[in-house]
Every structure is written in C-alpha cells, then in structure tokens.
C-alpha cells in the first residue's frame, strides 16, 4: 500500500514537470490560431479560426522563410566544415606523433575555457577587416575552430579505430589522406553524425553571433528574425504566436527525427566530462 502511494507520488511529480515543459507550447499553438480579439478576451485553450490570417500577417511583416533559408545556408556549411576538419584534427592528434603535439593540444583545450562572448569585439573587428561583416561567412567559417568537436572525435577515434587497422591499410598501399577518408570517416560515421547533430542544434540556435555580425534584415537568421517579433507586441499578437510556433516546429521536426542521437550525444558528453 505504501509502495503504491510512493509510485503515485513519483508519477505525479514527473507528469507535473512534463506539463510545465509542454504547457507553454500548447498555449503557443492555440494562440497562433486565435484573432487579436480572442487574444484580448478571457483565456481559453480552444483553438480559434485565425491561423491562416495570422500566417498571412506574419509573412507580410517579416520574411520568415528568408530567415529559415539564411539559417540553413549558414548552419549546414558550418556543420560540414566542423565535421570534416574537426575529425581530421582529432585523427592527427590521436594517431600521429609530432613535435609540439602536447603543447598544441593543451592550448586547444585552454581555448575551451575562454567563453567566446569575451572575444566578440576582437572577432567583429577581424571580420570587418576581412570585409566579411553582413555575410553568412561570419557564421560559417568559425566552424573550423570547433574545439569541442575535436575533443569529442578524439575520444571516438580512440574507441573505434584500432592501430592494427591503420597498419593493415598502410600495407595495402593506403596513403594517409586515403586512410582519413576511407578508414576514419567511414568507421566513425556514427560518431561524426552524433556530434554533427549536436553542432547543428547549437549553430541553428545561435543568437549572439548572428545579431552582432549581421545587421541587414535580409541576411538575418531565424533566431534574430524571431527576436524582432518582440517589438510589435499588442498589434498582431496572433502573428507573433504564429512566428514562435513555426520556429518551434522546425526544431521539433528535427528532434523527432534525431532524438536518439541528440539524447545520446548529451549523455556521451557527460561520460567524458
């Protein structure tokens, strides 16, 4: 009897937390279908009939799909760049000996300790002198220097790639470059995939870099575009909810497809941390 009570209590706790997590999204969904008149009356969870109108208002006021396009055009190249050069560096650090390796790796790990926000002004001026401000390159190129990916892939390569395998490949006449492409990238596919999905979410959600380096509205990414919705409250409430809902849908779709990799990626990070 006491056991049963405890179980009921535990489930109620978890369900309460789940409701807290999901309720804001439910409110968002319902409100996105309501008119301004509905949204200034008493609160109701019954859907309204204004979804299409809200969508129309939203797309008249902000170029929503342009933001999505810009986000995709910056996130995908960044993630590919990170995966390729990050894995390559991890391979170099893990399987080769060269002078200064330890020192270089230590410096690399130290860079993880300095929050990127601190260097924002310096990087802004560097982009300015490279004439890259207001281009998506400012969001793509830093992918080359993703320290966490190198750290993560180094662990992955250590676990997956046996030295004897590399020896065998070399005896079969594989060059080092071929070894990287055919052995490392193909055997570590799962690891590369997981870290890339994590990187995708991080870059997709970036706000501070996009809002700093990109000032033209046409080049803005989704997170910056959505943030601007906050400035026209009280006018088109339903449209704001619609924008927030669409932005959430995009990442929800991604989550439903990749949830095992995403939750697995968080978990693997904690094993090493």
């Amino acid at each position: 009897m006491k056991r049963k009570m405890v179980r009921v209590l535990l489930y109620s706790f978890l369900i309460l937390l789940a409701v807290i997590c999901l309720l804001p999204f439910l409110i968002m969904l319902v409100s996105a279908t309501q008119s301004n008149a509905d949204l200034s009356r008493g609160f109701t969870l019954l859907p309204g009939t204004w979804a299409a109108k809200n969508y129309q208002t939203l797309t008249e006021r902000i170029p929503f799909w342009t933001y999505v396009k810009n986000s995709l055009l910056s996130t995908i190249p960044n993630v590919i760049l990170t995966a390729y050069f990050g894995t390559m560096a991890a391979f170099g650090f893990e399987k080769y000996q060269f002078r200064g390796k330890k020192a270089l790796y230590t410096v690399t790990m130290l860079m993880m300790v300095i929050p990127a926000q601190i260097s924002l002004i310096g990087l802004y001026r560097i982009f300015a002198s490279m004439k890259l401000l207001n281009t998506l390159w400012t969001l793509i190129l830093p992918g080359i220097s993703n320290v966490l990916t190198v750290y993560w892939m180094r662990g992955n390569i250590y676990q997956v790639i046996d030295n004897s395998l590399l020896e065998a490949a070399r005896i079969d006449g594989c060059s080092d470059m071929q070894m990287f492409h055919r052995v490392v990238l193909s055997l570590c596919k799962t690891g590369v995939m997981t870290i890339s999905i994590m990187n995708f979410v991080a870059v997709w959600n970036d706000y501070i870099n996009a809002v700093t380096y990109i000032t033209s509205n046409k080049k803005s990414t989704l997170s910056v575009g959505i943030a601007m919705l906050n400035n026209f409250d009280n006018i088109d409430l339903g449209a704001v909810y619609m924008g927030v809902a669409l932005s959430t849908f995009v990442i929800l779709a991604f989550y439903l497809v990749f949830n095992s990799q995403i939750l697995g990626g968080v978990t693997e990070g904690s094993v090493k941390g």
């Binding site: 789940a18 050069f85 560096a89 170099g92 270089l104 926000q117 601190i118 002004i121």
Partner: protein
C-alpha cells in the same frame, strides 16, 4: 615510414589550428589590446590610453549592477535546477518506471528551442494587457487589474530565472542520469542487503560517486550563466529594463560596443567579465575539490 607519419600528423591538425588562431585566439588577444585604446567609431582617431578604460570600468555603476543581476539570476535558477535534475536522475536510473524515455524527451525539448524564440514566447505569456497569465488570473477572479510582471524588478528577474530553469533542468537531469548509471549496480545492491533505505543509499553511495558529474555541470552552468545574454536581451530589446534589473554583463558589453560603438571601453568591459568569470570558476573549483578531500 616514420618520417611520413610526422608530416601528416601536422598536416591534419593545421586547418583546425589555423581556424583556432584566427577565430578564437587572435580575437581574444585583439580584444585585450583594444581595451587599452580609446577606439570609438564616432570620434575617428584612436590612440593608446593606458589603463583609462579600466579605471572607468572600476567606477562604472552599471558594471556592478550588471554583475549583481547576472549572479542573482544564475543563483535563482541553479538551486532548483540541480535539485530537480538530481531527483529526476535518481528516478530515471534507479526506479522501475514506465515512460522514462518519453519523460526524458519532453524534459529536454525546451533546451532545443532557440533562446530568442523562448524569450519572445515568455514575453507574450507574461505580457501586460494581453499576456496569457494575466488573462487567466483575471478570468478566475484572482486579479482585478492586469499586473505588469516584466515591469517590476523582482518579478522580471524571477521570470528570466524561471525560463532559464525551464530550458536547462532536463539537460542536467540527463547528464546526472548517465552519471548514476555509471555507478556499479553491485554497490547499490550491497547497500540494500545491508538494509540502507533509499535516502541513505542516495546520500552515502550515489551522491559521492556522481560528485564529479555534479561538479562538471555546476562549473559549466556557472561559466555559462555569467555570460547570460539572449533572454534578457530579447525581452528588453537590449535595455535591461525595468530599473536595469535585467541588465547583464554581456548585454552591457554588447550595448557599449555595438550600440554606442565604443570598442575601447567595450573591450575593457569584456576583460572585466573574463576576470569575474575566472575568479568565480577558480573559487568554486577550489570549493568542490576541498570538500572532496
């Protein structure tokens, strides 16, 4: 063969290291250098002014206000975050419950939605005249007049702290779950045989063994929390209103550098944030290690 190995190792790490140099190391050093100048886009000429910016920083009221707000908002969410995450983790790892993967997935979802979207949604829900919370409370008769939640210092900070908790407790819970799952089951079984109850099992076995995970999560949230920017920035459009209660350190640095275009002083402000972060991190790192002995 050995010689060939040497060359390729360097070749493989070079693109990454060059990237690290250009996008991480140089920007940091450059910011440091700029902090000793009066570089200001409005005035043109720039020259070295020694420690002037740092003197100004030390007497800048906004720096201390921002520091206090940032720490306060972090402190308000870290306790419930670690507490609830630990409880969830124990349930996920050590109890036979149905729907664990569903709960994990739901708890983690708020972390995936970008902060800007979350901030806009929070501002809408907590809004004044047409906010959902006010409309609901007025409907059921608790409120007569709508309350301007985001217009009062304490409730505005509370909202930001709550939203941060909401976005991050699931992440911490999943980290802790793995930490607990790595504790050998035989330890727990032995304790059960010895007649330890759930409370004792947690404090005597599980907690000491997942200490490193807790320390890791604590330190990373501290460092991350001190860089708090997105949510207050989007909610207040960079103003930090009401009464500067949502003014955070990174937000103030951003405003100085990119709204007032004072690169010199902004950089000194950034270095101030860096020092504060380093001091806090070192201090809590020592505390964590001391207790372990």
């Amino acid at each position: 063969m050995t010689r060939k190995k040497v060359n390729f190792g360097i070749l493989f790490v070079t693109p990454f290291l060059l990237g690290l140099l250009v996008f991480r190391l140089l920007p940091f050093l450059y910011t440091f250098v700029i902090s000793f100048t009066n570089w200001n886009l409005m005035m043109g000429e720039k020259s070295f002014t020694g420690l002037d910016n740092y003197k100004r920083l030390l007497s800048d009221k906004n720096f201390y206000i921002a520091l206090r707000n940032t720490v306060k908002i972090w402190a308000m969410n870290i306790v419930p975050r670690l507490g609830i995450a630990l409880l969830c983790a124990v349930l996920f790892a050590q109890c036979r419950l149905r729907g664990k993967s569903f709960f994990k997935m739901v708890f983690y979802f708020p972390n995936l939605v970008n902060s800007a979207t979350v901030a806009v949604l929070a501002a809408m829900i907590m809004g004044w005249q047409s906010g959902v919370v006010n409309r609901f409370l007025m409907q059921i008769g608790i409120l007569e007049e709508p309350v301007y939640w985001l217009g009062q210092a304490s409730s505005a900070q509370g909202i930001v702290a709550f939203v941060t908790w909401w976005m991050w407790f699931g992440y911490s819970a999943i980290m802790f779950t793995t930490g607990i799952l790595n504790v050998p089951a035989s330890y727990i079984e032995a304790a059960i045989v010895d007649g330890a109850n759930a409370w004792q099992r947690f404090w005597r076995i599980t907690f000491p063994l997942i200490r490193p995970t807790i320390a890791y999560v604590f330190l990373t949230t501290l460092i991350g929390g001190l860089q708090n920017f997105e949510i207050p920035r989007v909610i207040t459009d960079g103003l930090g209103a009401p009464d500067k209660s949502l003014l955070t350190m990174v937000m103030q640095m951003h405003t100085i550098a990119f709204k007032s275009m004072q690169y010199g002083y902004g950089s000194a402000f950034a270095m101030g944030i860096f020092v504060v972060t380093a001091v806090f991190a070192a201090f809590s790192y020592r505390m964590i290690n001391k207790k372990e002995e």
